[in-house]
Amino acid sequence: MATESGTASVQHETHGAHATVGTYVLIGVILTVITAVEVAVFYIPALASVLVPILIVLSTTKFVIVVLFYMHLRYDSPLFRRVFFGPLLLALFVVIGLIVLFKYLPRFDPI
């Protein structure tokens, strides 16, 4: 199955070029700032009506930044992205599906 040239490929995929420590620190600062904004938004009454969409956008941004940079999916093989984001998409469907089913659809009492 695998060829000798596959060895170099494995080495490339496993230990490919990643971000520098400086980039990691910058990302850490960005994640901290986003978290601070999330908490600040939570305490501002004027934003109560748009709190949920704002928080979802901010937390999704944090999520994606960690996955792409700290988990190296930005640099690694696209196959890793597929085997992670595929089930993640299914998990999102599970969460949304169950919430809609139990919170927004009418309930019928059993006879």
């Binding site: 496993t14 990691y24 901290t32 978290t35 999330e38 928080l55 937390s59 700290y70 085997v83 919430i99």
Partner: protein, 195 residues
């Protein structure tokens, strides 16, 4: 595990089988936590007796513990960089930093759980208590497992058994650690901040 991994675990995909397998495992973990999060969301406002989430959740404390976990992820990538570059002192320092920050996070959670217990919230009190403790408890168990895993790697690094060619061992532990972090990012927003 990853000694000469490039040779030992090469596959038809050209990728290391340990790493690919671990990504598949993390994919399955998203479904696991997705189920727990959706259970919490469904039961969130269904409790008929208190304490209720708005009465008991401590946002300032949890914000600090969230910051601690984010910083542990930063320490983790710096530790991996140090191991890959063969910097032994840096490796030992940064892996220990991740362990310490992880242990601190667990300490915050232990304090929170104890406080809730004294406020009358247990697994049996109401639907909020059941789903909250199950979700955050499983997450805390994951963090605890990660701390133990990293402690083993730190001991290996101390004995000189974590050279650059075996850095994949730390990289996989790092994937696990970052995954625990992103699960907490979701929990912090959905459970603590969205009322």
């Amino acid at each position: 595990m990853a000694a000469n991994s490039a040779v030992a675990h090469r596959t038809s995909t050209g990728l290391d089988s340990w790493k690919l397998g671990f990504w598949v495992f993390l994919g399955s973990e998203t479904l696991f936590f997705g189920s727990l999060i959706s259970t919490y969301m469904v039961y969130k406002n269904e409790s008929v007796v208190g304490p209720f989430p708005t009465e008991i959740l401590n946002i300032p404390l949890t914000s600090v513990s969230t910051f601690v976990l984010l910083m542990s992820s930063l320490a983790m990538v710096i530790a991996l960089d140090a191991v890959q570059r063969g910097k032994r002192a840096g490796s030992l320092f940064w892996i220990m930093a991740v362990i310490a920050l992880g242990a601190l996070f667990i300490g915050f959670q232990a304090y929170e759980f104890t406080h809730f217990y004294h406020e009358g919230l247990t697994l049996q009190t109401n639907l909020f208590g059941s789903s909250f403790f199950i979700l955050t408890g499983f997450h805390g168990a994951h963090v605890t497992l990660g701390v133990i895993w990293l402690a083993i790697l730190w001991l290996d690094a101390l004995r000189g058994k974590l050279p650059p060619e075996k850095s994949l061992r730390l990289e996989i532990a790092g994937l696990y650690w970052h995954f625990v972090d992103i699960v907490w990012i979701a929990i912090f927003t959905l459970i603590y901040l969205i009322e």
